[in-house]
């Protein structure tokens, strides 16, 4: 199991005068699948972005530790994998080129075998040399999973992981989530009951919405 932990300490997010959530304290440990639930607009994606260090919270902080040492924000991207509907890859490149570029930019030697394995697992190996702009939304969703998994991160966060996927795609994603959840931290932000059904613990954002002003 990967030695990785994440802790949300007193995180509050306010946009303008609107309180999104207040004083969230929560810990994530490997070997468990966590869910973030809440109705539309409740702040699931905002909390996801805060966990990943993509936006700064109004108050509080998120601490990530790898092998007991706190990860500095500049290095956090090496330890996280993210899939979301608002994540876009480069349409002018093929799926294969996208994944190779991402590995090179991360500073890791492109792992052809692992790339091939993941492309096959998601059933898009035959279409790997097609430009991404020719991909359907479901295929684009599959390539996002390869993007998230290729560097073996300690924390995987999937925001609405099964959007645009067909039944076979959903099955592959659920299998990946279950496998990854055994050794890393997996967080699913979703409204889908089937997605949240995989989770062993669920953080309901609605519970942290107390009126201010």
């Amino acid at each position: 199991m990967i030695d990785f932990s994440s802790q949300i300490n007193g995180v509050t997010q306010i946009f303008g005068r609107r309180l999104i959530f207040k004083d969230i304290n929560y810990s994530f440990a490997p070997g468990c699948i966590y869910g973030i639930s809440g109705k539309n607009g409740s702040g699931k994606s905002t909390l996801s972005k805060i966990i990943l260090g993509l936006i700064s919270p109004t108050r509080g902080k998120v601490i990530h530790k790898s092998e007991g040492k706190e990860i500095i924000p500049e290095k956090l991207h090496d330890h996280i994998g993210f899939v979301s509907p608002y994540l876009f890859l480069y349409d002018e490149f093929t799926a294969w080129e996208n994944i190779l570029f991402f590995q090179k930019i991360r500073g890791i030697e492109p792992d052809i075998e692992k790339s091939k394995f993941l492309f096959e697992q998601f059933g898009i190996y035959d279409r790997r040399n097609d430009l991404l702009k020719g991909y359907s939304s479901g295929m684009k969703q599959r390539i996002k999973f390869i993007f998230a998994l290729i560097h073996s991160p300690g924390l995987l966060l999937f925001d609405e992981p099964t959007s645009n996927l067909d039944t076979a795609g959903k099955d592959t994603v659920y299998k990946i989530i279950e496998e990854s959840g055994r050794e890393r931290i997996v967080i699913i932000a979703s409204n889908e009951s089937t997605d949240l059904g995989l989770c062993t613990k669920t953080l309901d954002v609605e519970q942290f919405k107390t009126k201010e002003n």
């Binding site: 002018e92 490149f93 991360r106």
Partner: protein, 219 residues
């Protein structure tokens, strides 16, 4: 190495989309044609040609150099970049891309000025090319950090030259002075004050850009 890989990604992307190269090529062609038409048969002074060179360079830079960050924002790939590289590597990658683009663009502009304008005669070529080198670096650094700032704004196209003008003004004024010296045939030794101003500008902008980029980049 990570920054260089990002630069390679951007360069290949540019070769496929021609987002900046086409805009720059068209802008250079149009501005130089307009200048030539407006001059007609008149002979303009050397100093005026030197000034026009930097006017064309400034506005050409404004037409294409924002691409580095604006295209990422428009395509929604900013988040992807945040997930694969640190802010300093992203800035370095984008800076290498803009340095290459500025040098290519300005070499073409300078070449066209040399062959199309009779009065554009540089007596001190060493001084001219040294100023050209330092000036290009300054333009590339400034335009990269300004591109990062305006990429988050709504009116990107308008904001870029407006925001760039005060930041690039000291650089352009120094370059105008140095071009005048080069036309007059002054040596590098005679112009060391202006050259130091250029070097200082480049160093200050580069340092400030790296310090500020982290704050600009994060939402």
């Amino acid at each position: 190495m990570k920054a260089f890989s990002l630069f390679i990604k951007d360069w290949k992307s540019e070769l496929r989309t021609r987002y900046a190269i086409n805009a720059l090529a068209m802008f250079i062609l149009v501005t130089i044609s307009v200048i030539l038409f407006s001059i007609g048969q008149e002979k303009i002074s050397e100093y005026l040609t030197g000034g026009l060179l930097w006017v064309v360079i400034f506005f050409s830079a404004m037409s294409g150099l924002s691409r580095a960050f604006v295209s990422e924002e428009e395509r929604g790939t900013t988040l992807t970049l945040q997930l694969i590289a640190s802010p300093s590597n992203i800035f370095s990658g984008k800076l290498i891309f803009n340095v290459l683009l500025v040098f290519l663009m300005n070499l073409v502009i300078a070449f066209l000025f040399f062959i199309l304008f009779e009065s554009f005669v540089i007596k001190s070529t060493g001084l001219f090319w040294l100023s050209f080198l330092l000036g290009n670096l300054g333009i590339a650094v400034s335009s990269t950090i300004i591109a990062a700032i305006i990429s988050k704004a709504n009116s990107k196209g308008t904001l870029y030259p407006v925001l760039s003008f005060p930041i690039l003004l000291p650089l352009i004024l120094t370059l105008l002075e140095l071009t005048k010296f080069a036309i007059d045939g002054e040596t590098i030794g005679d112009s060391y004050v202006e050259l130091f101003v250029l070097i200082s500008y480049d160093v200050i902008m580069l340092t400030a850009s790296y310090l500020l980029f982290d704050f600009i980049w994060k939402e």
